[in-house]
Symmetry: C2
């Protein structure tokens, strides 16, 4: 990649060039997360929304719209829509995963309760839906409705596939497309659609979001086995302990001999883990070199993302989106 | 009231006259609850959908559309939409209430797990959204998006209001409008909107659904204290044990002397219930005659529902809708 680490990071560069629009998105989010009757709603939402995160998804929508020359007001609504859908899924994910921490802070289900996380998630999902209806674009509604269904389907698939050693790379890709890439690709695609861009451009934006989302999730799964927990805010081996079959392990299972297979059956399928198992799992990932194979996959998806937008008009933002694809995988290089 | 108990029940009469449309709705529901990738989704959904229930809400949409002379295909989509939203909220409610039984069968969260209920609910909600987008009516989308937000808001409000003795009748009404009436009124209203009925008719249908939904929920809350559990499938006093402040208790709290108030504070607010408390609670409801006052409120809402549709065209279905309003409160007469 050869990124100059001292330079501005690409999401910061995007954030700077989109500063005015991002401020409008934040204002709209604050307005729409309010509830006249139920103060619990903005409390829970603010806990997540204020925790920061990079606002990557809404930024992608704004960037796509701007890149396609959009001058209307509705990219703001769509960016807020995308962030609400994302926040709603995070609230529900933390209930499903019984997580206690997110972005280095206690989760909402821990601070309040599962009930609040489920219902506030539902509320935000409904609010996202109201926001997109305001754009008046049936095509945008169609794209976001499909993305929402794909996200939920991916999450359910993950429930059943995660602990099943028959889960191969193609099922993994389906899960990742659902839980992560569907919202990335919808975010970029609706930016193009609202700008009434050419179909080629809309498709390019979709492909970019899809590939970027996949690269993003593969990196996330890789960092779970080799990240620096001070940077990632995650502990090494969380996925292993939670018996989540992700790409590094799927690749190792595919190459496992009988004894190794028995190890994966016991630890992932049966969940009977004992002291030292994580170290042994790591040694198997190293033995079969699956961490580096996983890294290669992530880089290939980032390259695919860059290729996709090559046909878009030459523009500062196109350059930043390409840099963003590099940056996503630079964390593991 | 004076209903002839041997006669066909109004929802059965409606079901008979709408039989062809209801069959189409059921077919569409079965098609759309499928998932290519995640078989868990139709399993969980079928458990609820097949359990029956009266399909009251989709029937209201079909009835409203037919009453307004609609001849197109989209009332089927809207009826399925409404049933999916209803099913999604049931799945999430059972997680929130930690319920083990629904319609006399174990709940999905008990048979599978909370995770499946949360995520399959999200999937159905997304599917409902896809279905309504297919109608191409932005007004319908607006109505259903608003209803969804009102439902979630009502549920969150209930979380915080249910155990708070300051909850008065107006807050109770807000909760009931959210958790129950919002979907009834949206169901009837969109039937009129899709038929492009006059604004007066659309408003009348909305008012009917709103009042019917409120009557329905008040009856439900009343039956919790005086129903026959063999008929209702609920145990007497479930709401009391779950510390849910519903109308009969709200009315009793308003009339409580200091000693009675201390009883409600201990049992509802603090949840420190002991043997014999339910009997004492019932004796207080009888002392202040709040069960009969609650019944009067339900009947008044049913009358309001009938009044609302009086201006609609004379039609068999209008008569059945009026009978339905009577029937809803006949359970407590």
């Amino acid at each position: 990649m050869g990124l100059d680490k001292s330079a501005t990071k690409p999401h910061e560069a995007l954030s700077a060039v989109l500063a005015e629009d991002m401020a409008a998105v934040n204002t709209l989010i604050t307005q729409r997360m309010a509830s006249k009757h139920a103060p619990r709603i903005p409390e829970v939402t603010a806990h997540l929304v204020d925790a920061g995160g990079k606002r990557l998804r809404p930024m992608l929508t704004l960037a796509a719209a701007k890149l396609c020359g959009y001058t209307g007001p509705f990219h703001i609504h769509l960016a807020a829509t995308v962030e609400f859908i994302h926040t709603a899924t995070l609230l529900h994910d933390d209930v499903v995963d019984e997580s206690g921490q997110r972005r280095g802070r206690p989760t909402a289900n821990l601070l309040w309760d599962n009930k609040s996380s489920v219902l506030v998630g539902d509320y935000l999902f409904s609010r996202s839906f109201q926001l997109m209806v305001e754009t008046g674009s049936l095509r945008v509604l169609d794209i976001l409705a499909n993305a929402s269904a794909t996200i939920a389907e991916g999450e359910v698939l993950q429930l059943t596939a995660a602990q099943d050693l028959r889960t191969d790379e193609s099922i993994y890709l389906q899960v990742v497309r659902g839980k992560t890439a569907a919202l990335f690709s919808a975010a970029t695609q609706v930016g193009g659609v609202i700008a009434q861009a050419d179909e080629d451009f809309v498709q390019a934006l979709y492909d970019y979001g899809d590939a970027l989302g996949i690269a993003f999730q593969i990196v996330d799964d890789l960092l779970d086995y080799q990240g620096d927990s001070a940077v990632t805010g995650k502990n090494i081996g969380d996925d292993f302990r939670e018996r989540k079959l992700t790409l590094p392990v799927i690749k190792a299972v595919a190459k496992a001999d009988a004894e190794e297979r028995a190890f994966w059956v016991r630890t992932i399928e049966k969940g009977k883990q004992v002291e030292g198992d994580l170290d042994h799992a790591l040694s198997l990932l190293h033995k079969h070199d699956t961490l580096s194979a996983t890294r290669q996959d992530a880089i290939a998806w980032a390259d695919k993302a860059k290729d996709a937008i090559a046909l878009l008009p030459d523009h500062d933002i196109r350059k930043m989106l390409a840099d963003l694809a590099d940056y996503v995988v630079a964390r593991i290089s």
